[in-house]
């Protein structure tokens, strides 16, 4: 093939042949030709000498694709090998690229026609600049500015280059350049901005070319967020921008620039300028977009440019108000403009666009929080008293801070009122329970996964709660008014009603109790009226669901009014017989929700009652649940279990439990009785399904009863294990005899569901039982043979991963008391599970996860058992741990790393420290560096750092009393383990990363040693290392900062707990609150 000649780079490349090859790949080639061309091009790209041909290619080809290929080669060289090139070659390339750019952009025609090519050349130039400027190319900025003044098209292209430069240095630098480099570049660009600034002002004031002005505004936009403030406020820049704002062609670009200025926040020095800027802006905006405009409608019918303007307007207002709203509160004239701006923003918030709404919502949340905090801190008896008109007695208290805060609240009261309307009108959907079918065909309940809607609900709920605190009465009035519009039919629609009820439910707990009670009574009455006057069963069902949702959101009211609570529950029982779709599920879910928050109310004898409600309920239990589906019955049993758990009298509690379980136990006894006569009875599919259902009912009750479930599980435990064993044998037989697809048949699936549910029931009970070691101990021995023995004997496809999680739970729960059983557990599950999961990273995902969880539990609580392992066994454990954290599956990798940390810590403190670390130290270090530098393992960064830190602290900790190295293979002794580890690490990294110099590696390793006791310094050092190693270039590196984000979330939660209503009453973990 002629193209093969291209591989010979000893002479200038044949450009014609290259053009043909590139064309074959991109345009003309058949499938085979394209593959061959691809291979050749890849080889060329990988050839270290290819870049020397770039100039030759660019000068001789007419193919744009070929030019891009050449530039791609060049870009790779610049990014990764630039500093290794000779100075002459670097200078030559730099000059060539610059000249081509100037040549092409100096001519209008060539600039337009070669636009794509010029853009690519610009990118190349910026890559060079990032390396060479300012140290080696000190004249870059002056050169650029000088070139820009020679012609308008060159100037336009220079603006594009400046924009790229700013973006590369400031927007995309995180994770790609070392922090030292970032700081250096910023300082240089900062100090040389004067020239850029002058150029921009000159262009904006003198030029008439639309494209040039647009390019200049774009470039300016990239700089405004970081340049010294004087360039903005002490020049004509702002005035110039505000002049361009009304012009349609420049409007969006201008407002983006203004938004960057608005987002600056450096003290109060330029407040006057901000007020002036805002005043002019609003004046112009009123002309562009009259206040009477219906923005949501304009948005939906507008052009792309017009929609972009609305989006930019939202960003401008939110940025400006976020940092400078205080400045606008100073004088009455400016205040009216402030209110006008808030009005615009509220109108924009009604736009039907998710992104726009998010921008607005984030701002509203922070504004309302700020107002609330001020209000919250100043709300004291003196101010409250003065509000009640007792002024004659408190003349001295009104002035000062209280007065200030009140004025501010009054200033914002109207916008806040409108904002309440917005939140109520657009409330997002809260978390809900979904009814789904799992992989085995069983109906199960699942809570909705976290998603955008749920996040939005949380923010809106928080915002509405703050708004409620600022003015409870207005909140109440607006909600009741909207409810009246539903009643009058003016706004009747399912979605409107749902949205309103979500809003009403979201503020639960934020009002004082008496006000909340009155409010809720009015809401419920109106909803009941609505249900009565509305026609259609579907409509009535929707309204009833909303009534129950609202009621379920106000547990405080329910606890305070027994008669109402009882009526609600009895009404739910009625709905449990209603066959209209969704009503039964709604009733069961609401029942569970209410019982969880009011359970004690059901076990005491209420005024006017003869017996506790739970007793009455148990009497009519069979009737109540007769129309429910199995999954609904399970939910019901969990609810009643919660009630029984709240009973403090042990005798009554046991009686209630016995009555609750009478139905399933009777059925269970029947089945077991029949099975004693004939084992074949258990093989019937209907019987199997019934057994499964009974077990699931028990699991539901155990979930809520915990320790108190003991008597019930004792009753059925041994029979349950017998059924387990029998079904397990059936599964094994079917899989062994049935061929490769046997495990997928419905019969086997059903049997395995029973096994899994058995294990889940035991696990749930043991997990919930508190401080009762003897309980766990009494249940473990019978399971050794039935469960563990079964697992060991079974064929791989028949092994239940639940066995692993069950024993992990047992060990986590009972800790050291399980020490003697660990060898048996190991013997039964370790080897055979390892064989299942070490062939690849994908098969048996459940087993992988649970296997390592079990191992971690053992390492944490039963560590002495690991010490007793033989050397081959321990090696197997260590190999499996390394295997675990090499998984790309995040959960498994994390469990493996945590397990490793546990092992390192425990062995360090044990008598086997020396032997362990001599055997495994080097291997662990090597493996950790391998995953640390693998892009698929970035989520584990935090744990990788912890492991390395532990390893680097070890040599000096005093725990080691013998050398880490093997004296028989090392020719000369090291002074100590510290020196050995240092040298070993340097060798390891140098051989792994040839692109880094020995000096760089040494510096990195020394840095690790110096910062080993400084966690954040240690981490930053590793981050810089990852950047230098180039493994992470051009990729999303936010996972490297995951730890900081988690700490922030915890601080946020603590703050929320201190404000009534922010943590929903249903989520507050206070067991005594319903006494």
């Amino acid at each position: 093939m002629a193209a093969e000649k291209l591989r010979d780079l000893s002479q200038p490349i044949d450009v014609g042949v290259l053009d043909a090859t590139v064309a074959a790949f991109f345009v003309t080639g058949s499938k085979e030709e394209r593959a061959a061309a691809d291979q050749i091009l890849r080889d060329l790209q990988a050839n270290p000498d290819m870049w020397l041909q770039v100039v030759h290619i660019l000068q001789n080809t007419n193919s744009l694709d070929t030019k891009f290929f050449a530039l791609q080669v060049l870009e790779g060289v610049i990014k990764y090998r630039w500093n290794a090139l000779p100075v002459e070659q670097r200078d030559g390339m730099k000059n060539y690229i610059s000249e081509v750019i100037v040549q092409l952009s100096s001519n209008e025609a060539s600039f337009r026609s070669e636009r794509l090519y010029v853009n690519k050349l610009n990118v190349i130039l910026v890559q060079i600049v990032k390396h060479d400027w300012p140290a080696k190319w000190t004249s870059f900025i002056p050169d650029l500015v000088a070139a820009a003044k020679t012609s308008e098209t060159i100037c336009e292209n220079c603006m594009a280059i400046l924009k790229l430069l700013s973006e590369e240095v400031f927007d995309f630098s995180r994770g790609e350049m070392t922090q030292q480099k970032i700081k250096e570049l910023k300082q240089s660009l900062n100090s040389e901005f004067k020239l850029i600034h002058e150029l921009c002002l000159y262009v904006l004031s003198a030029s008439q070319r639309q494209d040039l002005i647009r390019a200049t505004l774009s470039a300016l936009h990239a700089y405004l967020s970081w340049i010294p403030l004087g360039y903005i406020f002490e020049s004509t820049l702002l005035e110039t921008l505000l002049k361009f704002f009304p012009v349609p062609a420049y409007r969006n670009l201008t407002i983006q620039c203004l938004t960057e200025v608005a987002a600056l926040n450096f003290g109060d020095f330029y407040n006057v300028q901000y007020v002036k800027m805002y005043t002019i802006f609003i004046g112009q905006l009123r002309i562009i977009l009259p206040p009477s405009t219906k923005i949501p409608e304009a948005y939906s019918s507008g052009s792309g440019e017009e929609q972009a303007f609305i989006q930019n307007l939202a960003l401008f207002f939110t940025s400006f108000f976020k940092f400078h709203i205080r400045v606008l509160e100073s004088t009455p004239e400016v205040v009216s403009l402030l209110l006008a701006g808030l009005e615009y923003l509220i109108n924009i918030s009604y736009v039907d666009d998710t992104e726009v709404f998010k921008v607005c919502l984030d701002y509203w949340n922070s504004l309302v929080l700020e107002l609330f905090d001020a209000h919250h801190n100043s709300d004291n008896p003196a101010v409250s008293a003065s509000l009640m008109g007792l002024q004659p007695f408190l003349p001295g208290m009104v002035d000062g801070l209280g007065s200030q805060v009140m004025q501010r609240r009054q200033l914002y009261s109207h916008p806040m009122s409108k904002l309440r309307g917005l939140m109520i009108n657009r409330m997002a959907k809260p978390e809900e329970v979904l009814i789904v079918e799992d992989e085995n065909g069983n109906i199960v309940r699942e809570t909705m996964k976290d998603n955008d809607v749920l996040v939005q609900y949380k923010i809106m709920r928080e915002t509405l709660i703050y708004l409620s605190h600022l003015d409870h009465d207005d909140t109440e009035k607006q909600m009741l008014r909207k409810l009246n519009k539903q009643l009058s039919g003016e706004e009747w629609a399912w979605n409107n009603l749902n949205t309103l009820c979500w809003a009403i439910g979201s503020i639960s707990g934020s009002m004082a109790e008496d006000q909340e009670n009155r409010f809720l009574v009015m809401v419920i009455r109106d909803l009941l009226n609505l249900c009565e006057i509305t026609k259609g069963k579907d409509n009535k069902a929707v309204i009833a669901s909303n009534i129950m949702y609202v009621v379920g959101q106000y547990p405080r009211f329910l606890r305070a009014h027994w008669k109402f609570l009882k009526t609600v529950v009895n009404k739910l029982f009625e709905f449990m017989h209603e066959t209209h779709p969704g009503v039964q599920d709604m009733a069961c879910d609401t029942f569970l929700k209410i019982v969880q928050k009011c359970k004690r109310k059901f076990v005491i004898v209420q005024v006017g009652e003869n017996e506790p409600f739970v007793s009455e309920l148990l009497t009519g239990l069979a009737t109540t649940v007769q129309d429910l589906e199995p999954h609904q019955i399970h939910s019901f049993y969990e609810s009643v279990g919660n009630m029984i758990q709240a009973e403090s009298d042990p005798q009554k509690r046991d009686e209630y439990l016995q009555r609750l379980m009478a139905l399933p136990n009777q059925k269970w006894a029947e089945i077991i009785g029949q099975a004693r006569h004939s084992v074949e009875f258990l093989k019937d599919q209907v019987v199997i399904r019934t057994v499964l259902n009974i077990l699931q009912t028990n699991t539901s009750a155990a979930t809520s009863l915990g320790t108190y479930f003991l008597s019930q599980i004792s009753l059925i435990f041994l029979d349950m294990l017998n059924v387990y064993r029998m079904y397990s044998e059936l599964v094994s037989t079917n899989i062994t005899e049935g061929g490769p697809y046997a495990s997928k048949t419905s019969f086997v699936k059903l049997l395995r569901s029973v096994k899994r549910e058995t294990l889940k029931l035991i696990e749930t009970f043991l997990d919930k039982a508190e401080d009762q070691p003897h309980i766990g101990k009494q249940f473990v021995p019978p399971m050794m043979e039935s469960v563990l023995g079964d697992y060991a004997r079974n064929v791989p496809d028949a092994r239940e991963s639940e066995v692993l999680s069950l024993f992990a739970t047992i060990i986590n729960k009972y800790k050291a008391t399980m020490l003697d059983d660990v060898p048996h557990i190991f013997e039964a599950v370790f080897q055979c599970t390892l064989e299942m999961i070490t062939k690849n990273f994908e098969d048996y995902p459940e087993h992988r996860l649970k296997f390592f969880s079990l191992l971690r539990a053992i390492a944490t609580f039963c560590f002495p058992a690991l010490i007793k392992l033989s050397s081959p066994q321990l090696k197997l454990v260590m190999d499996s741990i390394i295997w675990a954290f090499r998984h790309t599956e995040r959960n498994i990798a994390e469990t493996g790393l945590n397990l490793l940390l546990e092992m390192l810590k425990n062995f360090q403190q044990s008598e086997f420290c020396n032997q362990f670390y001599r055997s495994y130290f080097m291997q662990i270090e090597q493996e950790i560096f391998a995953v640390l530098t693998d892009t698929f393992h970035k989520p584990g960064f935090k744990l990788h750092v912890l492991v390395l830190q532990q390893l680097f602290c070890l040599p000096e900790s005093g725990a080691l009393t013998e050398p880490l190295w093997d004296a028989t293979t090392v020719p000369y002794p090291y002074p100590d383990n510290v020196a050995f580890v240092r040298e070993y690490t340097i060798k390891l990294l140098s051989s792994s990363f040839p692109n880094m110099t020995a000096a760089e590696v040494t510096q990195f390793v020394n840095g690790l040693y110096e910062s080993r006791n400084d966690p954040s310094g240690f981490k930053n050092n590793i981050r810089d290392f990852l950047v230098q190693s180039k493994e992470f270039s051009a990729q999303d590196n936010k996972d490297l900062y995951a730890e900081e984000a988690a700490a922030q979330r915890e601080r946020e939660r603590q703050r929320m707990l201190s404000i009534p209503g922010l943590i929903a009453p249903n989520e507050i973990q206070d067991e005594m609150v319903d006494s």
Binding site: G389, P392, F393, C531, K535, G536, I547, F557, H580
Partner: protein, 228 residues
Amino acid sequence: MATNEPEHEHRDEEEAGANEDEDTGAQVAPIVRLEEVAVTTGEEDEDAVLDLKSKLYRFDKDANQWKERGAGTVKFLKHKNTGKIRLVMRQSKTLKICANHFVKSGMSVQEHVGNEKSCVWHARDFADGELKDELFCIRFASIENCKTFMQKFKEVAESEEEKEESKDAADTAGLLEKLTVEETKTEEKTEAKAVETAKTEVKAEEKKESEAEKSGEAKKTEESGPST
């Protein structure tokens, strides 16, 4: 009457003696007879749960100063049937009403800033026979009495609140009891239609029977023809 009679006669004699020429001899009946009138205070159906001596002031907004309303006794009166409690203050001796209003949920009483024996509250008062918003101040002879009054006031207001809430919740519970997703009216309409349908069927059957009879008669006529 026996004793009165002689005096009467005696007076008659004197008059007859003094004015013999003027005596008409007629017996004169009294011109006006007064019936005994029952006196009521308006408190007969109420129990006093608090009764203390005090002096009452009201705040004159126009003059911007406190003005004395009266000195006497202040009472909390609880109605025997309704259980409602009102505050009544009467001036001693004259029993003129100085204050008269219900104690409702949401009302509260505050200590007077300058005097430990005094306290103040807002009320909609009916003492003068019309409803007025008033700011009252009351002063007692001792600090203990003042505290007693304040505590009682608060207790009453709170119990009113609880009653109100309980009643609201009970009423709402009653409404909730009737909640249903069933379409009762539609079912009634359906029944009505069913009834109408049934009636129509009945008529149709009657019509058929009638026609059958007519056919029978026609046959008879035909049969009698040949006989003739």
